[in-house]
């Protein structure tokens, strides 16, 4: 059995990843490197220390806590963390009075234990038609035995399970979760494979294959499209996407999620170069145009995230 997955957040009262009141588990690690990613702490499969320099008051309480000696006070009096020495053990986090330090990624408990924790909000799920959403990162990139056990346990308890995925996963992983997943929140970024490779680092071939497979299998699917200018917000690109969806999937609900800048600060806190920049959110008018366009293609159940 592979190492237990890392989790970087469990969000209760999560109300935008599937129907009703939900609890969303964010697994850490993703095979894609979307240039616009707003959750950069979800990309690496290893724990990472996040330091919010804006919040740090250089009190120095973390200095003594660091077993690696990775934290030091500079000549200017400011406390800095040397990433070269940091092993993301998280020892400093509890000592920070300003909550400036955070460890992204802690080992998941046993699947049965995690399922138990997720069931804490069962009454809210049942009242609201909600449930559990497995997200990431890329949840399908985690240990599949673990995921299958988690999904099966939740499913057997009568909990609605949604899988939020980019679709870039071995077919076998998709097949094994298929019996237990009530809803697939399926990301589609670009149909043009060259664009897809350039902006996400991988080909969309496997993604489209898996989507078609899910559709053939009768899975309930919701398509989620991050709309990023200038990557995929053109009318032509959107038309192609809509045509593909109607042909292969039918008329599922489509969520258009306009690009936003929430990731900017996180890259800094991770000490990571955000890389490619210059993305922006399409205008509200343009989003309205895209919604109309999808409707013309037969996709009338369109939701605007935001």
């Amino acid at each position: 059995m592979a190492a237990r997955p890392l989790i970087f957040n469990i969000q209760r009262f999560s109300t935008h990843d599937g129907p009703g009141i939900r609890t969303t588990v964010f697994f850490k690690g993703c095979p894609l490197r979307c240039a616009w990613c707003h959750n950069p702490e979800s990309q690496s499969f290893s724990p990472q220390l996040m330091v919010d320099e804006d919040r740090c008051v250089s009190c120095g309480m973390c200095l003594a806590a660091c077993p690696q000696g990775a934290i030091a006070r500079g000549a200017d009096g400011c406390v800095r963390t040397d990433r070269a020495y940091c092993v993301a053990c998280g020892a400093c986090v509890d000592f920070c009075p300003e909550d400036a330090r955070e460890l992204a990624g802690t080992p998941a408990p046993l699947a049965a234990e995690l399922a138990d924790r997720l069931l804490a909000d069962r009454m809210f799920f049942e009242r609201s038609g909600g449930g559990v959403t497995l997200s990431g990162g890329e949840c399908l990139a985690q240990d599949i035995d673990y995921l299958e056990e988690l999904c099966r346990t939740l499913h057997d308890e009568g909990v609605h399970v949604a899988i939020d995925t980019c679709g870039f996963a071995p077919r076998g992983h998709v097949e094994r979760l298929l019996p237990y997943a009530d809803l697939w929140l399926y990301d589609l970024k670009a149909l043009d494979d060259e664009v897809h490779r350039r902006t996400t680092g991988v080909s969309n071939e496997r993604i489209l294959d898996n989507l078609a497979f899910l559709a053939r299998s009768g899975a309930k699917i919701e398509i989620r499209v991050p709309v990023v200018h200038p990557v995929n917000d053109g009318e032509e690109a959107m038309c192609a996407l809509a045509a593909y969806v109607t042909e292969r999937v039918g008329t599922p609900r489509v969520s258009l999620l306009p690009y936003h800048t929430t990731g900017t600060g996180k890259y800094r806190r991770l000490g990571v170069d955000p890389g490619q920049e210059g993305f922006r959110a399409p205008s509200a008018e343009h989003m309205d145009r895209l919604v109309k366009l999808l409707a013309e293609q037969g996709l009338t159940d369109v939701e605007l995230g935001g």
């Binding site: 935008h16 309480m61 809210f124 609201s128 999620l257 929430t262 900017t264 995230g305």
Partner: protein
């Protein structure tokens, strides 16, 4: 010789009465003040039409002012009659003389008439309960927060007439004199507060069949029948009952007199009115007043007018905590509404207009000015009239009707602090009603609050009510459960749960004063286990509950002796049948409440000690005591504070480690209070609510083992301590639901959202489902704060105080504190656009 002595007393009384007349003339010579506002036009105001907007504008822009009429007329009544009549009769006479002599007016456009004082925003005083000093009165006039205009003539009347007569007679003095030094020590230390200190018991709602429907002449006949039935051959209390019943007759005359005066005034004004429409309205007002002065109300309009006279009588007779409310207004009105609409005499719009006029009336009555600790424990001028909508009928069927929706429209449109308004949600409540209520709440000003009907019924059944009576019940004031029209359930004071731990950690001494006020339970450094510490805490708690209960039992009896309330009694069953007063156990049910404050703070404090000192040895008791003594200012204290306030289990996160401690403290508090005799043939029970007392209790409480700094507020209601809950609203709700609400008389939970986090149809559904889920789990009450831009800006400046704030970001929701500066800026700007 004898004759001349009597004559000279008469002369003195005559001189005093003349002085009172002169003082009355002087205080009446001052017009009502108006407040200067930046947008001094009615058109910007809320309301369905010009009439309501004008009335609302007048209500909101008039400067509250002290009104001396009541105190002066009351003094004259006492001079004339004290000693020659029984106390209940004397109290009835006070109301009668006041209603017969007080200034009355009908404001332009009013459809519902009558004010407690001389006009909108006039605040009469009640020197028989609390006789304000001149310094108190000057402070009321000068202070920054809600202030009351006080004129020189008011001060002169207070100095020459009210103070000399009432200074030693006021209940407040008698209550203070009756208490032990242990009580005074605990009171001054801020262990508890005392409700009877400045206001009287009260705290009930309209609800009995007689109270809701009967004509005043019918009630008069009922009282007379009870007098005729008195058994002087066998009943040793027959004379006292006769006095009480005669007091009720006099008090009932008072309200008839007032209604007739308004009828005459309306008739006079109608005759002089040039506008034909208004003249017709005034004629109708006259007819309404004339009818309800004696008979049952015949229309929707008349029912509201009748209620309003009852409200004025209850709140003029004494100064009861938590005003009075019509109880299930929608159910009381629905029969009249349907009949009037069927007869073509009422439209939906007119009905809404009448409700909005009633809302203005509530808002016109500022809570009587408070002083000292009472001002702090209840630092608001809301008079806690809390109108109840929805719920179930006494037969157990769904109580929501057309008027329920009208009331939601009314509260949505009026946006008043007073009346406070709430909805009762039962299993039978239609989703449409719940969602409409959520929609109004989402507008972001905290109303309506949501109450769980099934839980209220359980609470009342647990307290021994019959099923039919339990179904008639609800929550009034803040969240307090009672059986409306059948129960007297006064509150007696707040109880500072976290402060008692501070006393325990100091071996009985209050470190603020160095005074020994508790038990000597030992040096906490000598406690080998957490259980030893908890035992010591429990002993201290019981010690202070003994002091509090003893004190309040004394005050209950003083109140019953000095301040019978014949009018409130005749509106509450079974006072007429028993010939006994509301304040003396005459009601069918009699409960006395003690309100626990700071359950979140005490839980976190104990959890921190258990976790850090005993279970994980992260620091020692000695180190902790040192840190608390220095308010975490010592060299090593910052680390203790970090450990205590981070990664230590806290209440509000659905974590059993902390929540089990909450349950233990709660059970101990409840079991130490519930069931004690309350001197009114009933029992003590507990509430878990703070009003604003958690601020005051925080001021007097030093640093907490949870990392809370000295002087910071303690947690409110059953909500988690500020910034302790970090797992979102469902975790808070689950923690709160671990408390056994059914064994209380009400609990209060605040939840905070930003407008965008519950935006759209989906947001509304989620809010409704959150309420439903909490109530499925047995929650008693929840209310929502939907925060605005100013709060967000403050949250940016002081993120440590907003760790539980959730904002909608973009496609997901996130905790405010988790967001970077630039994103916060963006959301602040976006939110502004959103409004």
């Amino acid at each position: 010789m004898e004759t001349s002595t009597i004559a000279s007393f008469d002369d003195i009384a005559e001189q005093q009465l003349e002085a009172i007349d002169a003082a009355l003339a002087a205080v009446r010579s001052h017009d009502a003040p108006t407040r200067v506002t930046s947008h001094d036009t009615w058109a910007d105001d809320h309301g369905m039409n010009e009439r309501v907007k004008r009335l609302r504008h007048q209500s909101e822009t008039t400067q509250p002012y002290l009104d001396m009429e009541r105190a002066l007329i009351e003094t004259a009544t006492y001079l004339r009659h004290e000693g020659s009549v029984s106390t209940p009769e004397l109290r009835g006479m006070v109301l009668r003389d006041y209603f017969a002599d007080k200034t009355i007016s009908i404001e332009p456009g009013e459809l519902i008439v009558g004010e407690k004082g001389r006009g909108p925003q006039a605040a009469p005083t009640f020197p028989e309960l609390c006789c304000h000093t001149l310094a108190d009165m000057r402070n009321m006039n000068d202070r920054e927060q809600v202030n009351f205009r006080v004129t020189d003539d008011d001060l002169a009347a207070q100095a020459s007439i009210v103070i000399p007569y009432w200074r030693a007679r006021a209940s407040r003095e008698k209550i203070m004199r009756a208490q032990t030094s242990a009580w005074h020590d605990a009171f001054e230390a801020g262990i508890f507060t005392e409700f009877y200190e400045q206001r009287a018991g009260g705290h009930t709602c309209l609800g009995s069949e007689r109270g809701v429907r009967a004509g005043f002449d019918e009630i008069r006949a009922d009282i007379q029948a009870a007098i005729d039935a008195l058994d002087y051959m066998a009943d040793e209390h027959a004379v006292a009952k006769c006095d009480e019943l005669h007091g009720m007759l006099i008090a009932l005359d008072a309200v008839t007199i007032l209604a007739e005066r308004y009828a005459e005034l309306a008739e006079r004004m109608a005759a002089e009115e040039s506008d034909a429409t208004r003249a017709a309205e005034l004629a109708q007002i006259a007819e309404n007043c004339r009818t309800v002065a004696h008979d049952r109300p015949r229309t929707f309009w008349q029912w509201i007018q009748r209620y309003w006279f009852i409200h004025l009588a209850i709140t003029s007779e004494t100064n009861p905590w938590d005003a009075y409310t019509p109880g299930r207004l929608d159910q009381h009105l629905i029969g009249y509404y349907r009949a009037d609409v069927a007869a073509g005499e009422l439209t939906r719009e007119r009905a809404l207009e009448l409700l909005e006029c009633l809302w203005v009336k509530f808002n016109n009555q500022p809570a009587p000015p408070k002083v000292g600790v009472t001002l702090k424990e209840s630092g608001t001028y809301s008079d806690f009239a809390n109108i109840n909508t929805g719920g179930i009928t006494p037969e157990g069927t769904d109580g929501v009707n057309e008027v329920s929706y009208l009331i939601l429209d009314c509260m949505d449109e009026m946006m008043f602090i007073q009346p406070n308004s709430n909805v009762q949600i039962s299993r039978k409540t239609p989703r449409r009603f719940l969602c409409r209520a959520c929609e109004v709440a989402r507008a972001g000003w905290g109303q309506p609050a949501f109450y769980n009907t099934e839980e209220i019924v359980d609470e009342l059944l647990a307290a021994g009510k019959s099923l039919a009576d339990a179904r008639r019940g609800g929550s009034s004031g803040c969240v307090e459960t009672g059986c409306w029209g059948y129960e007297a359930y006064p509150l007696t004071g707040y109880f500072n749960l976290p402060k008692i731990l501070e006393i325990t950690l100091n071996d009985g001494v209050d470190p603020r004063t160095g005074k020994l006020i508790g038990l000597r339970t030992g040096d906490p450094r000598s406690f080998a286990t957490y259980d030893e510490l908890f035992d010591a805490y429990v002993r201290q708690m019981k010690h202070f509950i003994d002091i509090k209960v003893r004190g309040s039992n004394i005050n209950t009896q003083i109140c019953a002796r000095e301040n019978p309330v014949p009018f409130m009694s005749l509106m509450t069953e079974d006072c007429i049948a028993r010939g006994e007063d509301y304040n003396a156990g005459g009601a069918r049910y009699n409960t006395t409440y003690l309100q626990g404050v700071g359950i979140g703070s005490i839980t976190d404090a104990l959890a921190s000690i258990k976790y850090n000192v005993y279970d994980h040895a992260r620091f020692t008791m000695g180190e902790l005591l040192g840190a608390l003594a220095s308010n975490f200012a010592g060299e090593c204290d910052a680390r203790i504070r970090v450990l205590a306030s981070r990664r230590t289990p806290k209440y509000g996160n659905d974590d059993d480690y902390a929540d089990d401690i909450m349950r233990a403290v709660f059970a101990c508090f409840r079991d130490s209070v519930t069931g004690r005799p309350n001197m009114r043939r009933g029992e003590w029970r507990i509430d878990m609510l703070p009003t604003t007392c958690h601020i005051y209790f925080g001021e007097v409480t030093g640093a907490s083992p949870s990392g809370r700094l000295a002087g910071e507020p303690v947690s409110d209601g059953i909500s988690p301590e500020a910034h302790a809950d970090v797992n979102g609203p469902t975790a808070v709700i689950k923690s709160c639901a671990k408390m056994d609400h059914a064994s209380t008389g009400g609990t209060l939970l605040n939840q905070k959202f930003t407008p965008s986090s519950i935006a759209g149809d989906r947001g509304l559904d989620n809010l409704a489902d959150l309420v439903r889920s909490y109530f499925d789990m047995g929650g008693h009450h929840v209310q929502f704060n939907i925060v605005d831009r100013e709060t967000l800006i403050d949250a940016q400046r002081h993120p440590e105080a907003y760790r539980d704030l959730i904002v909608r970001v973009a496609g997901f929701s996130e905790k405010w504190c988790n967001l970077g500066r630039e994103l916060q800026d963006e959301i602040i700007n976006r939110t502004e656009q959103g409004f």
